[in-house]
């Protein structure tokens, strides 16, 4: 059936590979080819010792872990419950999860800046003031986690929804319940294992979002990984390109490894009826 398309398919894949790989290859050449000196790997060997690299990367990873945990804890129960029969709530959740798409990150951060300014001015004599101080702690800015969770909602919703579409939650739960499982057991042992692919998918998207996020953190004055790359770029062009390439490759390797670990990923929306 698909065999007739083979030559056409290879042309498309070839062109795509060219467009997506050439910038990476060129970037690598750019980093090792020092004008007038020939090949040098200094740009890579100096990365680890460069000021701020390790701390900014760790900060990004911590933020990513916290964001993934919060977004899954909020979203998984909600979307599973929708499938189990609160059909009237479905549009509500769908709209709520799509709202962040309507507010671009730059507008969102403009709003956050305004709220953070307004808080201390009006709440200085209330316990809430402490909250404002705590969430802006430089060591671990909780405010970024809050922002990232909101920004991840649309992607996570789509990923989970696609995963749930492929399984019959209600039948699964009812089967588990009639076999004597309690509600939590039914959800944890019957539904979640079937959602593994969707959960991994949602986690990948969130991880990639947080690792590359620049707008919100930059304008709020924090320095996670992407902001660090930006700052280095001003001083050392080759170093910044080297880190950019590495960050892409490392993210990619990480995700491929996770995808492999996930094994049988649910084929989204693939109904074989």
């Amino acid at each position: 059936m698909a065999r007739r398309l083979t030559p056409w398919r290879w042309v498309v894949l070839g062109l795509a590979a060219l467009y997506f790989l050439v910038p990476l290859a060129a970037s690598v050449i750019f980093t090792v080819d020092v004008p007038g000196q020939g090949v040098s790997f200094d740009a890579y060997t100096k990365i680890l010792s460069t000021d701020g690299f390790v701390s900014s990367l760790l900060l990004s990873l911590e933020l990513a872990v916290a964001t993934i945990a919060v977004v899954l804890l909020l979203m998984v129960p909600a979307v599973v419950a929708l499938r189990l029969g609160s059909p009237r709530l479905r549009p509500v959740v769908e709209v709520v999860c799509s709202l962040p798409l309507v507010v671009p990150p730059i507008a969102f951060v403009a709003g956050i800046v305004t709220v953070l300014k307004w808080g201390p001015e009006h709440l200085s004599r209330t316990p809430l003031f402490e909250t404002f101080v705590v969430i802006q702690n430089d060591k671990f800015p909780v405010v970024l986690v809050l922002a990232y969770v909101v920004m991840a909602l649309p992607f996570v919703y789509r990923a989970l929804d696609a995963g749930l579409r492929a399984i019959d939650v209600r039948t699964l739960v009812e089967a588990a319940r009639s076999c004597g499982a309690s509600w939590p057991q039914a959800l944890l042992q019957a539904v979640l294992p079937n959602l593994r692919g969707a959960l991994l998918n949602a986690s990948f998207l969130t991880l990639a979002l947080v690792l590359g996020e620049f707008t919100v953190s930059h304008l709020l004055g924090y320095a996670p990984f992407a902001v660090w790359i930006y700052n280095v770029g001003g001083e050392q062009a080759q170093m910044s390109v080297a880190v950019s390439v590495l960050s892409l490759l490392v993210t990619w390797a990480l995700l491929l490894a996770l995808a492999g670990a996930g094994g049988g990923r649910t084929r989204t929306a693939n109904s074989r009826g």
Partner: protein, 299 residues
């Protein structure tokens, strides 16, 4: 029919039915509360700030439409229109190029290829921002590898321009299209194709009369999503062109972090509201399309 839930109500509903409904409400509440705080407060702040002016001397706040008017004039308007034009062109190209790529992957029987491309798309779709800008500067910038080796400078190539940005944006828009359209392509049943071919249709006819009409809502939905994504992009442009290309996101960032004149923050909020309105329009188109495509593909 085992353990009965505590009876909060005495409404005459079948116990099984109530047992299904109770977790529904409870599970959604935390999500709604979180969004109300983390998203609702900034959203209210945007609208409130967009329509108010603080008097620097008295500290009094008056409500007025002057910020909104100012945000639709002069350089602000130029930036807004520049963003819309860039996003529209980049989204159209991304959708056109993403569809055949997704189809090539879906119709391939190689599981490995599929996993690799989808995973790569997941990475690349979010590979916006600073690293992307630097990678393209190293490739096609003024001292970029291709620019130098192919002598592109003489042919008038300039990465730090409108079309340069389009080229760079496609790097994350095409993967986004692949991610968006793949589930829809998966939903195209082999039987439909077989039925069409058995009835004497050519491959082209099958695509024109069966596949594309079924895919149309998903395609348009993808297009709209790409537009929104390009419209909202800030980091790539900030790291690459500075302010050589007028874009609304760059204007907002300048007003937020630049040498702020009094009242500039509120202009930034007014511009933010403009962006929200454009993006809202986009979503108003997108959501019904999503529902339409689900009708065909959700079985």
């Amino acid at each position: 029919m085992t353990a009965a839930l505590p009876r909060a109500d005495v409404a005459p509903v079948a116990s099984a039915k109530r047992r299904r409904r109770a977790p529904g409400w409870l599970a959604v509440v935390p999500l709604l509360v979180f969004v109300a705080i983390a998203f609702g407060l900034p959203a209210v702040a945007i609208v409130n700030g967009a329509f108010s002016v603080d008097d620097a001397t008295t500290g009094a706040t008056t409500y007025t439409g002057s910020n909104m008017t100012a945000s639709l004039q002069g350089p602000y308007l130029t930036a807004l229109l520049g963003s819309v034009k860039l996003s529209a062109i980049a989204a159209a190209l991304g959708a056109l190029l993403g569809l055949p790529l997704a189809q090539a992957v879906v119709s391939s029987r190689s599981r490995w290829l599929r996993e690799a491309v989808l995973t790569a798309s997941g990475v690349l779709a979010n590979f916006g921002g600073v690293p992307l800008a630097f990678a393209f500067v190293a490739t096609l910038g003024n001292a970029g590898v291709l620019t130098v080796h192919l002598g592109l400078k003489d042919s008038g190539w300039d990465l730090y321009s409108f079309w340069g940005l389009v080229l760079v944006y496609l790097y994350f828009l095409i993967p986004l299209m692949v991610l968006t359209i793949t589930p829809a392509l998966d939903g195209l049943r082999a039987q439909w194709r077989e039925a069409a071919l058995n009835n004497g249709a050519t491959g082209v006819q099958y695509w024109r009369h069966v596949a594309l009409p079924v895919l149309a809502p998903s395609l348009l939905g993808g297009l709209v999503l790409l537009f929104g994504s390009a419209f909202a992009a800030y980091a790539t442009a900030a790291a690459m062109v500075g302010s050589a290309v007028p874009l609304v996101t760059l204007q907002i960032a300048d007003a937020l972090s630049g040498n702020v004149l009094v009242g500039q923050e509120n202009i930034a909020l007014a511009l933010s509201l403009d962006m929200v309105l454009v993006a809202g329009l986009v979503m108003a188109v997108y959501l019904p399309l999503q529902r339409r495509s689900a009708r065909w593909l959700d079985a």
